[in-house]
């Protein structure tokens, strides 16, 4: 009896004490103080000053680059589960883009807006609608099956039949010309950048015989520099180097190497657990480190020994848009601009901790992003201007109605939404947050009654590719684009910058100015990739600048 009483009394005492000390003047309910980071944060960023510099190999040490030896084993932390390894489900989960290219190979890789031949030797344009692709005549998969034109045709049709052949709009059919040549038939002349990225670069080529005999969901057999030795769905995927890689050493693509004998992908759902795993040496690489933990791995940090930090800006972009459907409050350009001017990207990005604030309508990651856009006086993304926001608000027909802010419920986005709500309230705009489970949000954003303001995470292989999804009004089959705009001028300008001929700085700038003028879109921030890597990495090699190719990195051997 006494024990319980004492424990309870202690608890009571703490509670009461906290209540007493908690007494004080109550400040305003909603307020944001959004100055730059304080001194502590600055010193933290000083430690991370060289974090955005990619590691360069120390030439005095022995690396895998000049040796035939392989590094022994590398473990990589992944945040989501690839679920299966089937060749037809590449766009299922983001983690597949890390894992798949180790054992599956496509005809071409897409690098710097160019098609780099991998299984293909090259392509010839027979005419506008027919292109021939020739493949090497000595391709073998890890089970020894010879890959021929039949297998290429089979693989493409396999993907098309599975219903997962997205962005195949240009693709009509493919047929065998001879044993090592296939002919692609297009639906229209290929005139836009990256149009063949999916049929050429994201179609895994496998042997028909192996596919029909094997179980590709767990143990795929393909031509890549690695083969799958163990796959435990939801837990890990272990790869071993393919000693009999088909390509001759001198022709081998630098991103299709096998510098490490064993690659293990560990699926760890919680980011904080990535930190623990790195600090205890269970994994050697992770790019999901919370920003606040980066300093621990940088010089002087508690886990600095043996680890280093590399921070890059990803290609993704969190885009905010207003619903332009007729009759919506946000169909009023003045209200839209009031919203945009009230937002402060620096503050939003600071609160999330793992994003980089956007300065103009795009992601500086891309080579077709031009920093001159940031200088435009009408660029409402460059700064937060409460005066202007209030000026636009008074011109609009807004009278204190509550606007619905819809977005998928993910930690970063929730933080952004909370900030946005507070920032808009400062300008006198009331916002209600609706953070929905991703599945629900993806469905609800197609319904104009469900939202006034939407945040969507978009991505692409280039700036114009990234713009396509929210702005193109053919994406949803409704005649409207993602923000329910049906503006022919916008569509025309978009198609123009997307085409091979129209993809110029001048056209893009004109397009951005048109959007600024009409207050159509607002770029919030881009996710940053916070990587921590073991110091045994001499270099880091990324596919499409984003997905680590562990086999192609160089490692120190001494």
């Amino acid at each position: 009896m006494k024990g319980k009483k004492i424990a309870a009394l202690l608890l009571c005492a703490t509670m009461t004490a906290s209540l007493v000390t908690g007494c004080g003047s109550s400040a305003g309910d909603q307020a944001v103080k959004t100055e730059a980071q304080d001194a502590a944060a600055e010193s933290e960023s000083a430690a991370l000053a060289d974090a955005d510099v990619a590691p360069t190999a120390d030439t005095s040490r022995k690396t895998t680059a000049e040796s035939d030896e392989r590094y022994d084993k590398i473990s990589i932390g992944m945040i989501s589960d690839p679920k299966d390894l089937a060749p037809t489900s590449m766009n299922g989960d983001n983690s597949k883009l890390f894992i798949y290219y180790n054992f599956y190979e496509p005809l071409f890789d897409f690098r710097n807006n160019e098609y780099i031949p991998i299984l293909a030797k090259g392509y010839t344009e027979v005419d506008d609608l027919h292109w021939d692709v020739e493949i090497y005549d000595y391709i073998y998969d890890t089970a020894g099956n010879h890959i021929t034109a039949d297998d290429v045709v089979f693989s493409l049709n396999l993907l098309v039949d599975s219903g997962n052949a997205f962005k195949f709009d240009s693709f009509k059919s493919v047929e065998k010309v001879d044993d090592y040549t296939v002919r692609f038939t297009w639906t229209a002349p290929i005139d836009s950048l990256g149009a063949l990225e999916w049929p050429w670069c994201r179609t895994c080529i496998v042997s028909q015989k192996a596919y029909e005999e094997g179980n590709f969901t767990d143990a795929p057999v393909a031509t890549g520099p690695y083969k799958v030795s163990e796959f435990v769905s939801g837990s890990r995927c272990v790869l071993e180097a393919n000693d009999d890689y088909w390509q001759k050493d001198e022709l081998r693509d630098p991103e299709h190497l096998a510098n490490v004998q064993t690659i293990e992908y560990n699926i760890i759902a919680e980011t904080s657990q990535h930190v623990i795993a790195l600090s205890t040496g269970q994994i050697q690489y992770s790019e999901y480190i919370p920003a606040e933990n980066l300093a621990d791995f940088a010089e002087g940090g508690q886990y600095a020994e043996g680890n280093d930090v590399y921070v890059t800006q990803g290609s993704g972009l969190y885009m905010l848009m207003c619903n332009n459907y007729e009759g919506k409050l946000t169909a009023d350009v003045n209200l839209r601009k009031a919203i945009y001017y009230a937002l402060d990207n620096e503050a939003i990005s600071a609160a999330t901790g793992n994003t980089v604030a956007a300065k103009a309508l795009g992601t500086s990651f891309f080579s077709d992003y031009y920093s001159s856009w940031e200088e435009n006086p009408d660029n409402y993304m460059a700064s937060c201007d409460l005066e202007k926001a209030k000026e636009y608000l008074s011109k609009s027909g807004y009278n204190g109605e509550t606007l619905t802010l819809l977005a998928p419920s993910d930690e970063t986005i929730k933080t952004m939404m909370t900030m946005i709500q507070a920032l808009l309230l400062q300008a006198g705009i009331n916002v209600e947050i609706v953070a929905e489970e991703a599945a629900l949000a993806q469905t609800d954003m197609l319904d104009y009654t469900k939202w006034d303001i939407l945040i969507s995470q978009i991505g692409g292989g280039s700036q114009v590719g990234e713009w396509n999804r929210p702005m193109n009004n053919t994406e949803f089959g409704t005649g409207y684009n993602m923000s329910f705009i049906a503006d022919d001028t916008l569509q025309e300008k978009l198609l123009n910058v997307k085409s091979l001929a129209g993809h110029t700085e001048e056209n893009e700038t004109d397009f951005v100015n048109y959007i600024l003028e009409n207050g159509y879109y607002y770029a919030l921030c881009s996710p940053a990739t916070n990587s921590v890597y073991s110091e045994d990495f001499a270099t880091l090699v990324y596919r499409e600048s984003e997905f680590l190719r562990a086999g192609s990195c160089d490692y120190y051997l001494d």
Binding site: C12, S18, V32, E35, E292, T418
Partner: protein, 285 residues
């Protein structure tokens, strides 16, 4: 006359609870927490959503006794405001679940026969879906938000209440006072709610009380897996969930919300335990 008896029964129960040391501690803790939450605006030194990006992730100090979170919001103030949501969630869900359970259970228990069989088999199906699973499904169907979460949380409690009430009614059904009531032509509904229910309700009250605690924990778990109230609502579970990325560098962000949940649930369970002892006729001396 009956009223007098009822109130004396109530007073007797209350005094018996108060004489139970565990329950007494529970009541004291709960009163402190509840009043702190109700009077949050007077106690909290900062606003509910008052952000200060210059002071984010500040550990506990004189200025912020429980520190600040990733947006520089005062944790203690948010916990006090958040208690309103968590407690309301727990109480509403337990009450809603029990009331639905009582209605269905008493209908089944009193009607008997085919109707009872059908209702009870339906309850079998209902309870063969585990409550956490139902909760996850229902919140996925209805979406986040306070009332949807209440509904999702209460649904799992229904079959338990139904079973309890029906079991009690079965044992009461044969008793004399019912025959007496029937013989003076009381309507079935009147018999059920005016005579039967008051005699069988105490286990349900105990169950509902214990259910509040369970529900608060379950609501927290629901928020943890991303199906809870909308941000920036400072529900305790949601605060815990938000803080889990910061567990290594700022562990106080998960310690305090967890402590508040644990303390509240502990208090409620202690009271429920005392209530059970107090209402159990076998233990009456």
């Amino acid at each position: 006359m009956r009223k007098e008896k009822r109130s004396s029964l109530f007073a007797e129960t209350m005094s018996r609870i108060w004489s139970n040391p565990g329950a007494k501690v529970g009541i004291i803790i709960l009163v402190i927490i509840v009043s702190a939450c109700i009077f949050a605006p007077f106690i909290a030194s900062y606003g509910l959503n008052e952000m200060d990006l210059k002071n984010m992730f500040k550990g506990p100090s004189a200025k912020h006794i429980m520190g600040t979170d990733g947006m520089g919001r005062d944790l203690f103030s948010r916990l006090l405001y958040g208690g309103r949501y968590s407690l309301a969630l727990g109480i509403c869900a337990a009450v809603v679940g029990s009331v639905i359970g009582i209605i269905i259970g008493s209908v089944a228990g009193y009607l008997g026969g085919q109707a009872e069989t059908i209702i009870m088999r339906f309850m079998d199906i209902w309870s063969s879906l585990p409550s956490m699973l139902l909760c996850i499904l229902i919140s996925a169907v209805l979406g986040a938000g306070f009332f949807n979460t209440v509904l999702a949380l209460s649904i799992g409690n229904v079959p338990i209440g139904v079973r309890l009430i029906r079991g009690q009614i079965l044992s009461e059904r044969s008793k004399e006072y019912l025959e007496a009531a029937e013989s003076i032509n009381c309507s079935k509904i009147s018999i059920m709610f005016r005579h039967l229910l008051p005699n069988v309700i105490s286990p349900v009250i105990v169950d509902a009380t214990m259910g509040i605690g369970m529900t608060i924990t379950m609501a927290a778990a629901l928020s943890y897996i991303g199906l809870g109230v909308q941000p920036p609502t400072p529900e305790w579970g949601a605060m815990l969930a938000d803080a889990r990325t910061h567990i290594l560098n700022y562990p106080y962000l998960i310690m305090f919300p967890g402590l508040f949940i644990a303390l509240t649930v502990l208090a409620i369970n202690l009271i429920g335990d005392g209530l059970r002892d107090a209402m159990d006729p076998k233990l009456r001396k």
